[in-house]
Protein backbone atom coordinates (compact mmCIF):
# COMPACT_ATOMS: atom_id res chain seq x y z
CA UNK A 1 0.00 0.00 0.00
CA UNK A 2 1.29 3.43 -0.89
CA UNK A 3 0.59 6.15 1.65
CA UNK A 4 -2.04 8.63 0.64
CA UNK A 5 0.31 11.53 1.18
CA UNK A 6 -1.82 13.94 -0.79
CA UNK A 7 -3.37 14.92 2.51
CA UNK A 8 -0.13 16.30 3.85
CA UNK A 9 -0.63 19.98 4.51
CA UNK A 10 2.75 21.65 4.42
CA UNK A 11 1.38 24.76 6.05
CA UNK A 12 -0.50 23.05 8.83
CA UNK A 13 1.59 24.54 11.60
CA UNK A 14 2.72 27.66 9.77
CA UNK A 15 0.77 30.68 10.94
CA UNK A 16 0.16 33.68 8.73
CA UNK A 17 0.74 37.27 9.73
CA UNK A 18 -2.16 39.58 10.49
CA UNK A 19 -2.36 43.10 11.77
CA UNK A 20 -4.33 44.42 14.67
CA UNK A 21 -6.38 47.27 13.30
CA UNK A 22 -8.64 48.05 16.24
CA UNK A 23 -8.45 47.46 19.96
CA UNK A 24 -11.22 48.08 22.45
CA UNK A 25 -11.19 47.50 26.16
CA UNK A 26 -14.23 45.93 27.70
CA UNK A 27 -12.96 45.28 31.16
CA UNK A 28 -9.67 44.93 32.90
CA UNK A 29 -9.50 41.35 31.65
CA UNK A 30 -11.39 41.36 28.37
CA UNK A 31 -10.48 43.08 25.15
CA UNK A 32 -11.70 43.24 21.61
CA UNK A 33 -9.33 43.10 18.67
CA UNK A 34 -10.09 43.63 15.04
CA UNK A 35 -7.62 41.78 12.89
CA UNK A 36 -6.71 42.23 9.27
CA UNK A 37 -4.98 39.54 7.28
CA UNK A 38 -1.94 40.83 5.42
CA UNK A 39 -3.08 38.92 2.38
CA UNK A 40 -6.09 39.66 0.24
CA UNK A 41 -9.08 37.43 0.63
CA UNK A 42 -11.26 36.50 3.53
CA UNK A 43 -10.62 34.14 6.38
CA UNK A 44 -13.44 32.01 5.02
CA UNK A 45 -14.93 30.85 8.27
CA UNK A 46 -18.28 29.67 9.55
CA UNK A 47 -19.70 31.32 12.65
CA UNK A 48 -18.57 29.34 15.69
CA UNK A 49 -15.16 28.42 14.30
CA UNK A 50 -11.94 29.47 15.92
CA UNK A 51 -8.41 30.45 14.97
CA UNK A 52 -5.14 29.64 16.68
CA UNK A 53 -3.62 32.96 17.66
CA UNK A 54 0.16 32.89 17.75
CA UNK A 55 2.52 35.22 19.46
CA UNK A 56 6.04 34.31 18.47
CA UNK A 57 8.16 33.25 21.38
CA UNK A 58 5.11 32.98 23.63
CA UNK A 59 2.77 30.40 22.19
CA UNK A 60 -0.60 29.73 20.63
CA UNK A 61 -4.11 29.90 21.96
CA UNK A 62 -7.42 28.97 20.35
CA UNK A 63 -9.71 32.00 20.14
CA UNK A 64 -13.20 32.07 18.66
CA UNK A 65 -13.92 34.25 15.71
CA UNK A 66 -16.33 36.85 17.00
CA UNK A 67 -17.50 38.33 13.72
CA UNK A 68 -19.77 36.88 11.04
CA UNK A 69 -18.24 35.71 7.78
CA UNK A 70 -17.86 38.39 5.14
CA UNK A 71 -15.83 38.92 2.02
CA UNK A 72 -13.26 41.28 3.52
CA UNK A 73 -10.00 40.28 5.08
CA UNK A 74 -10.94 41.56 8.53
CA UNK A 75 -12.39 39.67 11.44
CA UNK A 76 -12.91 40.15 15.15
CA UNK A 77 -11.41 38.39 18.14
CA UNK A 78 -12.16 38.88 21.80
CA UNK A 79 -9.89 37.63 24.51
CA UNK A 80 -9.85 37.22 28.23
CA UNK A 81 -6.37 37.53 29.73
CA UNK A 82 -5.74 34.35 31.67
CA UNK A 83 -2.38 33.01 30.61
CA UNK A 84 0.78 33.57 28.61
CA UNK A 85 -0.65 34.21 25.17
CA UNK A 86 -3.74 36.09 26.21
CA UNK A 87 -1.86 38.29 28.65
CA UNK A 88 0.75 39.12 26.05
CA UNK A 89 -1.99 39.84 23.52
CA UNK A 90 -3.32 42.38 25.97
CA UNK A 91 -0.16 44.43 25.67
CA UNK A 92 -0.57 44.62 21.89
CA UNK A 93 -1.71 47.81 20.21
CA UNK A 94 -3.10 48.93 16.94
CA UNK A 95 -0.77 48.04 14.04
CA UNK A 96 1.01 45.30 15.97
CA UNK A 97 1.43 42.00 14.16
CA UNK A 98 0.06 38.72 15.39
CA UNK A 99 -0.01 35.39 13.64
CA UNK A 100 -2.95 33.13 13.06
CA UNK A 101 -3.81 29.68 11.82
CA UNK A 102 -7.24 28.59 10.85
CA UNK A 103 -10.15 28.78 10.75
CA UNK A 104 -10.50 25.46 12.52
CA UNK A 105 -13.20 23.39 14.04
CA UNK A 106 -16.76 22.73 13.24
CA UNK A 107 -18.95 25.81 13.42
CA UNK A 108 -22.46 26.63 12.29
CA UNK A 109 -22.24 25.20 8.83
CA UNK A 110 -24.76 25.18 5.99
CA UNK A 111 -26.45 22.13 7.36
CA UNK A 112 -27.17 23.82 10.66
CA UNK A 113 -28.28 26.98 8.85
CA UNK A 114 -30.71 24.85 6.85
CA UNK A 115 -32.12 23.53 10.07
CA UNK A 116 -32.39 26.99 11.60
CA UNK A 117 -34.28 28.49 8.72
CA UNK A 118 -37.79 29.52 9.72
CA UNK A 119 -37.22 28.44 13.28
CA UNK A 120 -37.20 30.34 16.53
CA UNK A 121 -33.53 30.92 17.48
CA UNK A 122 -32.86 30.95 21.18
CA UNK A 123 -29.36 32.16 22.11
CA UNK A 124 -28.26 31.57 25.67
CA UNK A 125 -24.92 33.18 26.53
CA UNK A 126 -23.06 33.53 29.78
CA UNK A 127 -20.27 36.06 30.28
CA UNK A 128 -17.63 35.84 27.60
CA UNK A 129 -19.64 33.08 25.97
CA UNK A 130 -20.97 36.03 24.02
CA UNK A 131 -17.69 36.14 22.08
CA UNK A 132 -18.19 33.04 19.99
CA UNK A 133 -21.94 33.62 19.76
CA UNK A 134 -21.50 37.11 18.38
CA UNK A 135 -20.37 35.71 15.04
CA UNK A 136 -23.70 33.95 14.68
CA UNK A 137 -25.87 36.62 16.27
CA UNK A 138 -24.48 39.32 14.02
CA UNK A 139 -25.00 37.04 11.07
CA UNK A 140 -28.67 36.26 11.72
CA UNK A 141 -29.93 39.61 12.99
CA UNK A 142 -29.70 41.38 9.61
CA UNK A 143 -31.59 38.43 8.17
CA UNK A 144 -34.10 38.18 10.97
CA UNK A 145 -36.91 37.75 8.50
CA UNK A 146 -35.57 34.29 7.72
CA UNK A 147 -36.38 33.16 11.22
CA UNK A 148 -39.53 32.83 13.17
CA UNK A 149 -38.04 34.75 16.02
CA UNK A 150 -34.67 35.51 17.54
CA UNK A 151 -34.39 35.55 21.34
CA UNK A 152 -31.10 36.35 22.97
CA UNK A 153 -30.67 35.58 26.65
CA UNK A 154 -27.51 37.03 28.14
CA UNK A 155 -26.34 36.65 31.71
CA UNK A 156 -23.33 38.19 33.42
CA UNK A 157 -22.00 38.60 36.91
CA UNK A 158 -22.08 42.40 37.00
CA UNK A 159 -22.85 45.09 34.47
CA UNK A 160 -19.11 45.57 33.94
CA UNK A 161 -18.95 42.06 32.58
CA UNK A 162 -21.38 42.73 29.74
CA UNK A 163 -19.46 42.41 26.52
CA UNK A 164 -20.20 44.75 23.59
CA UNK A 165 -22.52 47.01 25.62
CA UNK A 166 -23.12 49.35 22.64
CA UNK A 167 -24.10 46.44 20.41
CA UNK A 168 -26.40 45.14 23.10
CA UNK A 169 -27.98 48.59 23.24
CA UNK A 170 -28.57 48.50 19.49
CA UNK A 171 -30.21 45.11 19.74
CA UNK A 172 -32.43 46.39 22.54
CA UNK A 173 -33.50 49.28 20.29
CA UNK A 174 -34.00 46.98 17.37
CA UNK A 175 -36.18 44.67 19.34
CA UNK A 176 -39.03 47.18 19.45
CA UNK A 177 -41.46 46.06 16.84
CA UNK A 178 -39.29 43.33 15.36
CA UNK A 179 -38.96 39.61 15.89
CA UNK A 180 -35.69 40.10 17.76
CA UNK A 181 -35.58 40.23 21.54
CA UNK A 182 -32.78 40.54 24.05
CA UNK A 183 -33.21 39.62 27.68
CA UNK A 184 -30.41 40.24 30.14
CA UNK A 185 -29.77 39.24 33.68
CA UNK A 186 -27.05 39.96 36.24
CA UNK A 187 -25.95 37.98 39.27
CA UNK A 188 -24.83 41.04 41.20
CA UNK A 189 -26.48 44.13 39.75
CA UNK A 190 -25.68 47.72 40.63
CA UNK A 191 -28.43 49.99 41.94
CA UNK A 192 -29.30 51.44 38.52
CA UNK A 193 -29.87 48.08 36.86
CA UNK A 194 -33.40 47.76 35.60
CA UNK A 195 -33.15 44.34 34.05
CA UNK A 196 -33.56 40.90 35.50
CA UNK A 197 -31.57 39.70 38.47
CA UNK A 198 -30.44 36.09 38.95
CA UNK A 199 -28.77 33.28 37.09
CA UNK A 200 -29.42 32.84 33.42
CA UNK A 201 -31.93 30.04 33.81
CA UNK A 202 -34.33 32.53 35.40
CA UNK A 203 -34.75 34.10 31.97
CA UNK A 204 -35.92 30.93 30.28
CA UNK A 205 -39.48 30.99 31.68
CA UNK A 206 -39.79 34.58 30.48
CA UNK A 207 -39.80 33.65 26.87
CA UNK A 208 -42.47 32.07 24.95
CA UNK A 209 -41.26 29.32 22.63
CA UNK A 210 -42.40 26.14 21.05
CA UNK A 211 -39.62 23.66 21.84
CA UNK A 212 -40.14 21.66 18.70
CA UNK A 213 -39.83 24.76 16.56
CA UNK A 214 -36.94 26.29 18.40
CA UNK A 215 -33.20 25.92 18.01
CA UNK A 216 -31.27 26.73 21.17
CA UNK A 217 -27.62 27.78 21.01
CA UNK A 218 -25.70 27.83 24.26
CA UNK A 219 -22.25 29.15 25.18
CA UNK A 220 -20.96 29.91 28.62
CA UNK A 221 -18.75 28.77 31.43
CA UNK A 222 -18.61 24.99 32.07
CA UNK A 223 -21.07 24.97 34.98
CA UNK A 224 -23.71 26.90 33.07
CA UNK A 225 -24.44 24.09 30.64
CA UNK A 226 -25.82 21.70 33.18
CA UNK A 227 -28.39 24.12 34.52
CA UNK A 228 -29.47 25.46 31.15
CA UNK A 229 -29.80 21.97 29.72
CA UNK A 230 -31.94 20.87 32.65
CA UNK A 231 -34.26 23.82 32.13
CA UNK A 232 -34.58 23.10 28.43
CA UNK A 233 -35.18 19.42 29.07
CA UNK A 234 -37.92 20.38 31.48
CA UNK A 235 -39.53 22.21 28.60
CA UNK A 236 -39.22 19.05 26.50
CA UNK A 237 -36.91 20.61 24.02
CA UNK A 238 -35.74 17.94 21.56
CA UNK A 239 -32.03 17.30 22.08
CA UNK A 240 -31.39 17.62 18.35
CA UNK A 241 -32.52 21.22 18.61
CA UNK A 242 -29.82 22.20 21.02
CA UNK A 243 -26.38 23.38 19.90
CA UNK A 244 -23.57 24.45 22.09
CA UNK A 245 -19.97 25.45 21.86
CA UNK A 246 -17.48 23.82 24.22
CA UNK A 247 -13.88 24.66 25.06
CA UNK A 248 -11.07 22.37 26.05
CA UNK A 249 -7.33 22.59 26.21
CA UNK A 250 -5.86 22.51 22.74
CA UNK A 251 -2.35 22.52 21.42
CA UNK A 252 -2.71 22.06 17.70
CA UNK A 253 -6.31 22.81 16.80
CA UNK A 254 -6.27 20.13 14.11
CA UNK A 255 -7.02 16.85 15.85
CA UNK A 256 -3.49 15.64 16.48
CA UNK A 257 -2.19 16.73 19.85
CA UNK A 258 -4.85 14.83 21.78
CA UNK A 259 -5.47 17.39 24.49
CA UNK A 260 -9.07 18.19 23.66
CA UNK A 261 -10.16 14.61 23.09
CA UNK A 262 -13.09 13.86 25.34
CA UNK A 263 -14.27 10.28 25.19
CA UNK A 264 -13.00 9.91 21.71
CA UNK A 265 -14.40 13.22 20.49
CA UNK A 266 -11.86 15.78 19.35
CA UNK A 267 -13.39 19.10 20.34
CA UNK A 268 -11.27 20.86 17.72
CA UNK A 269 -12.69 18.70 14.94
CA UNK A 270 -16.21 17.67 15.89
CA UNK A 271 -16.62 20.88 17.84
CA UNK A 272 -16.44 23.41 19.27
CA UNK A 273 -20.06 23.54 18.09
CA UNK A 274 -21.90 20.36 19.08
CA UNK A 275 -25.40 19.13 18.72
CA UNK A 276 -26.55 17.94 22.12
CA UNK A 277 -28.10 14.78 20.77
CA UNK A 278 -24.69 13.73 19.43
CA UNK A 279 -22.81 14.11 22.64
CA UNK A 280 -25.28 13.80 25.50
CA UNK A 281 -23.70 10.55 26.72
CA UNK A 282 -20.19 11.93 26.68
CA UNK A 283 -19.47 12.14 30.39
CA UNK A 284 -16.19 13.95 29.90
CA UNK A 285 -17.80 16.76 27.96
CA UNK A 286 -20.36 17.41 30.68
Amino acid sequence: MELALVQSNAKLYLPEPARIVKVRNFTEHEKFFQIELLRKGSLGHDPGQFVEVSILGIGEAPISIASPPDSGNRFDLCARAVGDVTKKLFTFKKNDLIYIRGPFGHGFDDKIFQRMRGKHLLFIAGGIGYFPLRSLINQVIPNAKNYKKISILYGCKTSQDRMFPDELKKIHHLSVGSNVELLETLDHPEADWTGNVGVITTLIPKIDFDPAETIAIIVGPPIMYKFVLTSLMDKHMPKENIYMSLERRMKCGVGKCGHCQMEGVYVCQKGPVFNYADVEHNEELF
Binding site: M1, E2, L3, A4, L5, V6, Q7, S8, N9, A10, K11, L12, Y13, L14, P15, P17, S54, I55, L56, G57, I58, G59, E60, V82, G83, T86, L97, Y99, P222, E247, R248, R249, K251, C252, V254, G255, K256, C257, G258, H259, Q261, M262, E263, G264, Q269, E283, E284
Partner: protein, 343 residues
Amino acid sequence: MLLKTTKTALLKGIDQVLSTYQVAALTKQDSRVLYNYVKTSHDIFWGCRPTVLPPKKFFFPPHETLLDYTADGQIIAKIESKPLVLFGIHPCDLRGIQILDEAFADLHGDPNYLERREKAIIIGLDCHQTCDQDSFCYKVGAHYAKTGYDIMLYPLKDDQYLVEVATDRGNVFAEQFLRAIKGEEKELEEYQQAKAKAFESLKPFKDLEKFPELFQENTHHPVWEHEGARCLSCGSCVMVCPTCYCFNVTDDWELNMRAGKRQRHWDACMLHDFTTVATGENFRPTATARLHHRINRKFNYLMKKHGQSVCVGCGRCVRACLADISPKTIAEAINGEDEKEWN
Protein backbone atom coordinates in the same frame (compact mmCIF):
# COMPACT_ATOMS: atom_id res chain seq x y z
CA MET B 1 5.92 -10.77 -5.40
CA LEU B 2 7.74 -13.44 -3.45
CA LEU B 3 11.51 -13.84 -3.38
CA LYS B 4 14.00 -15.82 -1.40
CA THR B 5 17.41 -14.82 -0.12
CA THR B 6 20.01 -15.51 2.53
CA LYS B 7 21.19 -13.58 5.53
CA THR B 8 24.58 -13.04 3.93
CA ALA B 9 22.95 -11.51 0.90
CA LEU B 10 20.79 -9.34 3.11
CA LEU B 11 23.82 -8.09 5.01
CA LYS B 12 25.57 -7.28 1.77
CA GLY B 13 22.47 -5.52 0.52
CA ILE B 14 22.24 -3.41 3.66
CA ASP B 15 25.84 -2.33 3.34
CA GLN B 16 25.07 -1.19 -0.18
CA VAL B 17 21.96 0.61 0.94
CA LEU B 18 24.02 2.53 3.46
CA SER B 19 25.59 4.61 0.73
CA THR B 20 22.22 6.11 -0.21
CA TYR B 21 20.05 5.79 2.87
CA GLN B 22 20.26 6.01 6.59
CA VAL B 23 19.45 2.61 7.96
CA ALA B 24 17.88 2.03 11.33
CA ALA B 25 17.45 -1.38 12.88
CA LEU B 26 17.57 -3.23 16.16
CA THR B 27 20.98 -2.68 17.74
CA LYS B 28 22.67 -3.59 20.95
CA GLN B 29 24.11 -0.84 23.10
CA ASP B 30 25.65 -1.77 26.41
CA SER B 31 22.94 -3.94 27.85
CA ARG B 32 20.18 -2.27 25.90
CA VAL B 33 18.52 -3.43 22.70
CA LEU B 34 17.06 -0.50 20.83
CA TYR B 35 16.18 0.81 17.42
CA ASN B 36 19.02 2.94 16.21
CA TYR B 37 20.88 4.02 13.14
CA VAL B 38 23.54 1.56 12.03
CA LYS B 39 26.87 2.25 10.43
CA THR B 40 27.34 -1.20 8.93
CA SER B 41 25.16 -4.25 8.65
CA HIS B 42 27.18 -5.79 11.48
CA ASP B 43 25.58 -3.37 13.93
CA ILE B 44 22.23 -5.06 13.39
CA PHE B 45 20.95 -7.20 16.21
CA TRP B 46 19.02 -10.10 14.73
CA GLY B 47 17.32 -11.41 17.80
CA CYS B 48 13.79 -10.53 18.75
CA ARG B 49 13.91 -8.48 21.89
CA PRO B 50 11.40 -5.85 23.00
CA THR B 51 12.73 -2.28 22.89
CA VAL B 52 11.89 0.53 25.29
CA LEU B 53 10.79 2.88 22.52
CA PRO B 54 8.98 1.75 19.39
CA PRO B 55 10.15 2.87 15.95
CA LYS B 56 7.69 5.79 16.05
CA LYS B 57 10.62 7.91 17.23
CA PHE B 58 11.98 8.00 13.69
CA PHE B 59 8.84 9.62 12.29
CA PHE B 60 7.64 11.43 15.37
CA PRO B 61 10.68 12.25 17.50
CA PRO B 62 10.34 13.04 21.22
CA HIS B 63 11.23 16.65 20.51
CA GLU B 64 11.12 18.42 17.19
CA THR B 65 11.07 21.92 15.84
CA LEU B 66 7.96 22.90 13.92
CA LEU B 67 8.81 26.53 13.25
CA ASP B 68 11.91 28.65 13.17
CA TYR B 69 11.27 32.36 13.38
CA THR B 70 13.00 35.65 13.89
CA ALA B 71 12.01 38.76 15.77
CA ASP B 72 11.58 40.61 12.48
CA GLY B 73 8.85 38.24 11.43
CA GLN B 74 10.44 35.58 9.24
CA ILE B 75 8.77 32.28 9.89
CA ILE B 76 9.79 29.00 8.38
CA ALA B 77 7.97 25.74 8.82
CA LYS B 78 10.70 23.27 9.54
CA ILE B 79 10.82 19.61 8.68
CA GLU B 80 13.95 17.58 9.09
CA SER B 81 13.76 14.45 7.03
CA LYS B 82 16.15 12.15 5.27
CA PRO B 83 15.66 8.99 3.29
CA LEU B 84 15.51 6.15 5.77
CA VAL B 85 15.36 2.40 5.67
CA LEU B 86 13.78 0.85 8.73
CA PHE B 87 15.00 -2.68 8.82
CA GLY B 88 13.69 -5.66 10.73
CA ILE B 89 10.49 -4.21 12.15
CA HIS B 90 8.34 -6.83 13.83
CA PRO B 91 4.63 -7.27 13.16
CA CYS B 92 3.37 -5.48 16.26
CA ASP B 93 5.45 -2.43 15.46
CA LEU B 94 4.38 -2.54 11.82
CA ARG B 95 0.81 -2.32 13.05
CA GLY B 96 1.83 0.57 15.21
CA ILE B 97 3.28 2.38 12.22
CA GLN B 98 0.19 1.69 10.20
CA ILE B 99 -2.01 3.21 12.89
CA LEU B 100 0.19 6.29 13.22
CA ASP B 101 0.16 6.67 9.44
CA GLU B 102 -3.62 6.79 9.51
CA ALA B 103 -3.73 9.09 12.51
CA PHE B 104 -1.30 11.62 11.15
CA ALA B 105 -2.80 11.57 7.66
CA ASP B 106 -6.31 11.93 8.97
CA LEU B 107 -8.18 15.13 8.03
CA HIS B 108 -5.34 17.64 8.31
CA GLY B 109 -2.25 15.71 7.24
CA ASP B 110 0.64 16.34 9.59
CA PRO B 111 3.45 17.53 7.32
CA ASN B 112 6.32 16.63 9.61
CA TYR B 113 5.29 13.06 10.21
CA LEU B 114 4.18 12.42 6.68
CA GLU B 115 7.26 13.80 5.02
CA ARG B 116 9.52 11.60 7.10
CA ARG B 117 7.27 8.67 6.61
CA GLU B 118 7.16 9.15 2.87
CA LYS B 119 10.92 9.04 2.66
CA ALA B 120 11.09 5.74 4.49
CA ILE B 121 11.27 2.22 3.21
CA ILE B 122 10.07 -0.26 5.76
CA ILE B 123 11.36 -3.79 5.84
CA GLY B 124 9.48 -6.02 8.22
CA LEU B 125 10.72 -9.18 9.85
CA ASP B 126 8.15 -11.71 10.88
CA CYS B 127 8.19 -13.43 14.26
CA HIS B 128 7.05 -16.95 14.88
CA GLN B 129 6.87 -16.72 18.65
CA THR B 130 6.15 -14.11 21.32
CA CYS B 131 9.14 -12.16 22.55
CA ASP B 132 8.46 -12.35 26.29
CA GLN B 133 5.77 -12.96 28.85
CA ASP B 134 4.54 -9.36 28.78
CA SER B 135 3.72 -9.24 25.10
CA PHE B 136 0.24 -10.19 23.99
CA CYS B 137 0.24 -9.43 20.28
CA TYR B 138 -1.74 -12.64 19.65
CA LYS B 139 -4.53 -11.28 21.84
CA VAL B 140 -5.21 -8.53 19.31
CA GLY B 141 -4.08 -10.35 16.21
CA ALA B 142 -1.01 -8.14 15.84
CA HIS B 143 1.37 -11.06 15.47
CA TYR B 144 0.47 -10.83 11.81
CA ALA B 145 1.28 -7.63 9.96
CA LYS B 146 -1.30 -6.82 7.38
CA THR B 147 0.17 -3.66 5.93
CA GLY B 148 2.60 -0.98 6.97
CA TYR B 149 5.64 -2.48 5.23
CA ASP B 150 7.20 -2.27 1.82
CA ILE B 151 9.02 -5.55 2.15
CA MET B 152 8.44 -8.37 4.60
CA LEU B 153 10.97 -11.00 5.54
CA TYR B 154 9.95 -14.44 6.76
CA PRO B 155 12.77 -16.37 8.41
CA LEU B 156 13.23 -19.92 7.24
CA LYS B 157 15.76 -22.47 8.37
CA ASP B 158 19.51 -22.10 7.75
CA ASP B 159 19.53 -18.31 7.61
CA GLN B 160 17.25 -18.25 4.60
CA TYR B 161 14.52 -15.67 4.19
CA LEU B 162 11.38 -15.42 2.13
CA VAL B 163 10.94 -11.89 0.86
CA GLU B 164 7.46 -10.56 0.24
CA VAL B 165 7.57 -7.36 -1.78
CA ALA B 166 4.39 -5.49 -1.01
CA THR B 167 4.66 -2.09 -2.65
CA ASP B 168 6.04 -0.50 -5.76
CA ARG B 169 8.62 1.27 -3.68
CA GLY B 170 9.57 -2.02 -2.15
CA ASN B 171 9.91 -3.45 -5.60
CA VAL B 172 12.26 -0.74 -6.83
CA PHE B 173 14.24 -1.09 -3.66
CA ALA B 174 14.45 -4.87 -3.86
CA GLU B 175 15.61 -4.75 -7.45
CA GLN B 176 18.34 -2.32 -6.59
CA PHE B 177 19.63 -3.83 -3.38
CA LEU B 178 18.46 -7.38 -2.84
CA ARG B 179 20.12 -10.31 -4.48
CA ALA B 180 17.33 -12.85 -4.39
CA ILE B 181 15.86 -15.67 -6.32
CA LYS B 182 12.20 -16.39 -6.85
CA GLY B 183 10.45 -17.71 -3.80
CA GLU B 184 7.84 -20.43 -3.79
CA GLU B 185 4.34 -19.63 -2.52
CA LYS B 186 4.37 -23.09 -1.10
CA GLU B 187 7.25 -22.24 1.18
CA LEU B 188 5.36 -19.25 2.52
CA GLU B 189 2.34 -21.40 3.13
CA GLU B 190 4.43 -23.88 5.01
CA TYR B 191 5.96 -21.10 7.02
CA GLN B 192 2.53 -19.71 7.88
CA GLN B 193 1.26 -23.11 8.85
CA ALA B 194 4.15 -23.62 11.20
CA LYS B 195 3.60 -20.19 12.69
CA ALA B 196 -0.11 -20.81 13.11
CA LYS B 197 0.76 -23.98 14.92
CA ALA B 198 3.16 -22.21 17.25
CA PHE B 199 0.45 -19.70 18.14
CA GLU B 200 -2.28 -22.29 18.28
CA SER B 201 -2.81 -22.17 22.00
CA LEU B 202 -2.47 -18.39 22.15
CA LYS B 203 -5.97 -17.18 21.52
CA PRO B 204 -7.19 -13.66 20.80
CA PHE B 205 -9.33 -11.74 23.27
CA LYS B 206 -12.82 -13.02 23.60
CA ASP B 207 -15.17 -10.64 21.71
CA LEU B 208 -12.33 -8.49 20.38
CA GLU B 209 -14.52 -7.07 17.59
CA LYS B 210 -17.05 -5.95 20.15
CA PHE B 211 -14.56 -4.10 22.31
CA PRO B 212 -15.75 -0.58 21.44
CA GLU B 213 -19.27 -1.36 22.61
CA LEU B 214 -18.06 -3.41 25.56
CA PHE B 215 -15.79 -0.65 26.77
CA GLN B 216 -18.51 1.94 26.19
CA GLU B 217 -20.86 -0.06 28.38
CA ASN B 218 -18.25 -0.63 31.06
CA THR B 219 -17.21 2.93 31.81
CA HIS B 220 -18.01 2.28 35.46
CA HIS B 221 -16.57 -1.20 35.76
CA PRO B 222 -14.73 -1.60 39.08
CA VAL B 223 -11.50 -2.55 37.30
CA TRP B 224 -10.89 1.11 36.49
CA GLU B 225 -10.85 2.23 40.09
CA HIS B 226 -8.96 -0.88 41.14
CA GLU B 227 -6.10 -0.28 38.70
CA GLY B 228 -6.30 3.50 38.71
CA ALA B 229 -5.70 3.65 42.45
CA ARG B 230 -2.20 2.29 41.97
CA CYS B 231 -1.34 4.41 38.95
CA LEU B 232 1.47 6.88 39.59
CA SER B 233 0.46 9.07 36.65
CA CYS B 234 4.05 8.76 35.55
CA GLY B 235 3.31 8.70 31.84
CA SER B 236 5.79 5.93 31.09
CA CYS B 237 3.13 3.79 29.46
CA VAL B 238 2.31 6.50 26.96
CA MET B 239 5.90 7.37 26.13
CA VAL B 240 6.68 3.81 25.10
CA CYS B 241 3.46 3.01 23.26
CA PRO B 242 3.78 2.59 19.50
CA THR B 243 0.31 4.03 18.95
CA CYS B 244 0.29 6.99 21.33
CA TYR B 245 0.99 10.31 19.65
CA CYS B 246 -0.18 13.18 21.85
CA PHE B 247 2.07 16.18 22.02
CA ASN B 248 2.64 19.50 23.65
CA VAL B 249 3.86 22.63 21.91
CA THR B 250 6.21 25.22 23.38
CA ASP B 251 7.68 28.48 22.16
CA ASP B 252 11.09 29.74 23.10
CA TRP B 253 13.23 32.70 22.14
CA GLU B 254 16.93 32.33 22.02
CA LEU B 255 18.77 34.28 24.66
CA ASN B 256 19.56 37.01 22.15
CA MET B 257 15.81 37.45 21.61
CA ARG B 258 16.40 37.69 17.89
CA ALA B 259 15.32 34.23 16.89
CA GLY B 260 13.08 31.59 18.33
CA LYS B 261 11.51 28.21 17.83
CA ARG B 262 8.19 26.52 18.19
CA GLN B 263 8.72 22.93 19.20
CA ARG B 264 6.59 19.95 19.90
CA HIS B 265 7.31 17.36 22.52
CA TRP B 266 5.71 14.04 23.36
CA ASP B 267 2.99 14.48 25.91
CA ALA B 268 0.89 11.95 27.76
CA CYS B 269 -2.76 11.75 28.64
CA MET B 270 -1.77 9.92 31.83
CA LEU B 271 -0.12 13.03 33.23
CA HIS B 272 -2.09 15.02 35.73
CA ASP B 273 -2.03 18.33 33.88
CA PHE B 274 -2.81 17.02 30.42
CA THR B 275 -6.27 18.55 30.38
CA THR B 276 -5.75 21.42 32.80
CA VAL B 277 -6.67 24.78 31.28
CA ALA B 278 -5.44 28.26 32.09
CA THR B 279 -8.35 28.90 34.43
CA GLY B 280 -7.38 25.91 36.53
CA GLU B 281 -10.13 23.48 35.55
CA ASN B 282 -8.97 19.96 34.91
CA PHE B 283 -11.30 17.87 32.84
CA ARG B 284 -9.71 14.57 33.84
CA PRO B 285 -8.46 15.10 37.35
CA THR B 286 -8.13 11.53 38.59
CA ALA B 287 -5.65 8.82 37.63
CA THR B 288 -8.60 6.48 37.20
CA ALA B 289 -10.22 8.78 34.65
CA ARG B 290 -6.94 9.12 32.81
CA LEU B 291 -6.33 5.37 32.75
CA HIS B 292 -9.87 4.91 31.50
CA HIS B 293 -9.13 7.38 28.74
CA ARG B 294 -5.86 5.78 27.67
CA ILE B 295 -7.26 2.28 27.50
CA ASN B 296 -10.42 3.45 25.78
CA ARG B 297 -8.33 5.13 23.13
CA LYS B 298 -6.87 1.73 22.39
CA PHE B 299 -9.98 -0.45 22.56
CA ASN B 300 -12.83 1.93 21.95
CA TYR B 301 -12.49 5.50 20.66
CA LEU B 302 -9.70 4.96 18.17
CA MET B 303 -10.52 1.33 17.55
CA LYS B 304 -13.76 2.52 15.97
CA LYS B 305 -11.83 4.91 13.78
CA HIS B 306 -9.10 2.54 12.67
CA GLY B 307 -11.23 -0.56 12.44
CA GLN B 308 -8.80 -2.57 14.55
CA SER B 309 -7.47 -2.69 18.06
CA VAL B 310 -5.19 0.28 18.53
CA CYS B 311 -3.30 -1.60 21.21
CA VAL B 312 -0.97 -3.86 19.29
CA GLY B 313 -0.10 -5.99 22.31
CA CYS B 314 3.60 -5.20 22.21
CA GLY B 315 3.63 -5.18 26.00
CA ARG B 316 5.86 -2.12 26.27
CA CYS B 317 3.54 -0.32 28.66
CA VAL B 318 3.31 -3.44 30.79
CA ARG B 319 7.08 -3.63 31.08
CA ALA B 320 7.29 0.10 31.77
CA CYS B 321 4.61 0.19 34.45
CA LEU B 322 5.98 -0.22 37.96
CA ALA B 323 2.43 -0.53 39.25
CA ASP B 324 1.84 -3.54 36.97
CA ILE B 325 -1.08 -2.00 35.15
CA SER B 326 -1.77 -3.77 31.88
CA PRO B 327 -4.25 -3.25 29.05
CA LYS B 328 -4.52 -7.02 28.92
CA THR B 329 -5.68 -7.32 32.51
CA ILE B 330 -8.20 -4.55 31.98
CA ALA B 331 -9.48 -5.95 28.70
CA GLU B 332 -9.93 -9.36 30.28
CA ALA B 333 -11.83 -7.79 33.14
CA ILE B 334 -14.10 -5.93 30.75
CA ASN B 335 -14.86 -8.89 28.51
CA GLY B 336 -15.23 -11.23 31.44
CA GLU B 337 -12.45 -13.49 30.24
CA ASP B 338 -10.67 -13.50 33.59
CA GLU B 339 -13.62 -14.64 35.71
CA LYS B 340 -12.27 -12.49 38.50
CA GLU B 341 -14.53 -10.63 40.92
CA TRP B 342 -13.47 -7.00 40.68
CA ASN B 343 -15.87 -5.59 43.22
